[in-house]
């Protein structure tokens, strides 16, 4: 029984990790006042580049690094459009997603049949094979630990460091931040690139660790869920983590129920994770004050110091 609980926890963490990674990155981007809807596209490009590099060099970690760079590079295209050229962020973000879907399918064409050795789960002799605790704490994919560290780092950075305070200031009132001498556009570029790198990492996790394969559209909408999670979390890092695991847990719970033979229509069960998301979002939205308190005030509004 305890073993089973540990297995369930491990599966939940594995399923929630891409959402945690992409969500944490997007949260930083949005905290700086930029709404980048291109997460799905950046994830796919990160996934395909990570897979290609891992397949060519036989070094999965190199692939993951390359996936992050690719995600960041794509996000900078969005940065140029919205921050330098003042394009509409919603339109540019959607375009980025569509572009990413097509681009990843195109460059990945020759890689659909390739088999790679993915990133293996942690195996520390003596610890990973401990009963219960081993499975619970020491046998996940290394990227699961990376995602936890990332959330902790984002939390610490945004709320405990001066630099984080500046990022938030830029997201609240770029005019004020500019007036006291901060380079608003440069800071936003950095935040956008960070979000892109995290989305790329999330895609890399899918393609090189979780299901080591590349096929067109393999993220299957997880980028959009990560976007919703940021709102769900009212722009708080720990809540992104909670939301991602809740989503993972509800998905797995419905599979578990089915495999146990519980007589509930599977269509209803597959709706549950989304239903849970909508429910929580509705509950949060009812409390307009919380949202106003947490949402970056300048979110989605173009800003240029000369304008």
């Amino acid at each position: 029984m305890m073993e089973h609980v540990a297995t369930l926890v491990a599966l939940t963490l594995a399923a929630g990790t891409p959402l945690v990674l992409a969500g944490a990155g997007e949260l930083v981007t949005e905290r700086s006042g930029v709404l980048n809807l291109g997460v799905e596209g950046m994830m796919l490009v990160g996934a395909v580049v990570a897979f290609m590099v891992a397949a060519t060099t036989k070094a999965p970690w190199l692939g993951i690094g390359a996936g992050m760079l690719a995600g960041a590079a794509l996000s900078l295209v969005f940065g140029v459009l919205t921050l330098s050229l003042m394009a509409n962020q919603v339109a540019a973000g959607l375009a980025l997603s569509l572009f990413g879907v097509g681009l990843s399918a195109f460059v990945g064409l020759g890689y659909v049949s390739v088999v790679i050795e993915g990133v293996q789960p942690l195996a520390i002799s003596g610890l990973s094979d401990l009963p219960f605790l081993g499975k619970l704490l020491f046998a996940h994919s290394p990227l699961v630990y990376v995602s936890l560290a990332l959330v902790a780092a984002v939390q610490w950075f945004l709320f405990r460091t001066r630099a984080g305070l500046i990022v938030r200031a830029v997201g609240e009132s770029p005019e004020a931040a500019h007036a006291i001498g901060y380079p608003v556009i440069a800071i936003r570029y950095a935040a956008v690139a960070f979000g892109g790198a995290c989305a790329g990492l999330a895609g890399a996790y899918l393609a090189v660790a979780y299901t080591p394969l590349w096929t067109e559209g393999m993220t299957a909408g997880r980028g959009w869920i990560a976007l919703a999670l940021v709102v769900f979390a009212t722009w708080k890092p720990w809540r992104v983590l909670a939301g991602a695991y809740l989503f993972g847990a509800v998905t797995l719970a419905q599979f578990q129920a089915q495999a146990l033979g519980v007589a509930v229509p599977s269509q209803l069960l597959s709706m549950l994770p989304y239903l849970a998301t909508i429910l929580v979002l509705t509950l949060i939205s009812r409390d307009a004050a919380t949202i106003r308190l947490n949402a970056p005030a300048a979110l989605g509004k173009p800003y240029h110091p000369d304008a």
């Binding site: 089973h4 394969l213 997880r222 919703a228 599979f255 106003r292």
Partner: protein, 370 residues
């Protein structure tokens, strides 16, 4: 910021729809110089990839092209969404002079029929559908025959007596496969049980992986799937349990654990249909081919499958091919104990194609809304 939230979620959802629509890719098969080669079109629902439903159809196309040398020229369009886009693509293929057009997904049924009415001189073949017309034939494979054989392998190789089945949607074709697999498994291992998880998607590697992991966590030590990616075979390889692949051989994704695969072979059928059409003898048919017609084949066996098991599978396959044995020969009982077919008789195709219950040995209740 509720306004922003509302606006972008709306955009996001419509963007997903657009993204899928835009991903349509045009491709042209190799054109060989010949006087007036016969033009044949293919419409695929997903990218060709290197394994899966569309890959098998494309392999059939290539086989046909090879068999008929320079006399045909083929054109295919991949990743065509079922619906309005399909109609546009099929019409485009008909307009550009393709004389025979294969539409290879269930959802192309109505678009195919609609375009066929407008192009009476063009012949159409629709895979897995049930409506025909003067110039529209249908063809399908008896997937369940291969599933029964897969079940025999699973029944012989399991130690926990539990098999896991990752399935896409509860439509008769999929249910038939689950039932045939279960009957095959229990024919050699009466204690065997099959657990089913529906992922409600033909293609989502992440969810397929999660479903596979769930089944393994509940004791399944042989997995199979009726979804399109290789994720289930990979999940089994990672957790060191056996798997049986579907559509295509996936042994390179599970070199140690993929026992065999149920594969679809369309080449011979495509060759014959095109030959008939070239000779002006094509007629709209209702073809449901199986092992006998060469449409269903078992993939190569993994070396861990003992010879006697391989022999049993091969023998059963030749019995099915020769018409001596039918996987659904009565008595067929559903998993609530009700008798669905009396002892001694094979199930008729008509009854078979409407299957909407689990047979004895499948756990749980079929999620069919009635």
């Amino acid at each position: 910021m509720p306004q922003i939230f509302n606006r972008w979620t709306y955009r996001a959802s419509s963007a997903i729809a657009v993204a899928f629509a835009v991903s349509t890719v045009l491709g042209t098969g190799s054109a060989l110089a010949a006087d007036e080669p016969f033009k044949v079109g293919f419409v695929y629902v997903s990218p060709i990839s290197d394994a899966g439903w569309t890959f098998q159809h494309d392999s059939g196309r290539k086989e046909m092209e090879k068999a008929l040398g320079g006399k045909v020229v083929t054109k295919f369009v991949e990743s065509v969404p079922e619906g309005a886009d399909a109609e546009r693509v099929i019409r485009e293929l008909a307009q550009s002079g393709n004389k025979l057009i294969f539409t290879t997904s269930f959802g192309y049924m109505n678009p195919t029929l609609k375009v066929a009415k407008q192009f009476p001189k063009t012949d159409f073949e629709h895979a897995t559908g049930y409506k025909t017309d003067v110039n529209v034939g249908i063809y399908n494979a008896r997937f369940y025959e291969g599933r029964y054989l897969a079940g025999i392998v699973a029944g012989k190789m399991t130690k926990s007596n539990v098999a896991g089945y990752v399935a896409a949607f509860p439509i008769p074709e999929v249910v038939m496969g689950i039932n045939a697999f279960t009957r095959g498994m229990r024919s050699v291992n009466p204690k065997a049980e099959v657990k089913v998880v529906w992922v409600n998607s033909w293609y989502d590697p992440g969810r397929e992986r999660e479903a596979a992991d769930t089944l393994i966590s509940q004791g399944a030590d042989v997995l199979t799937h009726h979804t399109d990616s290789t994720a289930v075979v990979q999940a089994a390889e990672a957790k060191k349990v056996y798997s049986i692949a579907y559509h295509s051989d996936m042994s390179k994704y599970g070199p140690n654990t993929e026992l065999t695969a149920v594969t679809h072979q369309w080449g011979a059928y495509y060759t014959k249909a095109v030959q008939d059409a070239m000779a002006g003898k094509w007629k709209p048919g209702t073809v449901w081919g199986g092992i006998k017609e060469g449409m269903i084949k078992m993939g190569p066996f993994n070396k861990v499958v003992p010879n006697d098991v391989q022999d049993l599978v091969n023998k059963t396959a030749s019995d099915i091919g020769a018409g001596k044995f039918h996987p659904f020969t009565g008595p067929v009982k559903d998993n609530e104990g009700k008798e669905r077919l009396a002892a001694g008789k094979p199930m008729t195709d008509d009854v078979l194609s409407k299957m909407d219950y689990y047979v004895e040995g499948v756990q749980g209740k079929l999620p069919v809304s009635k």
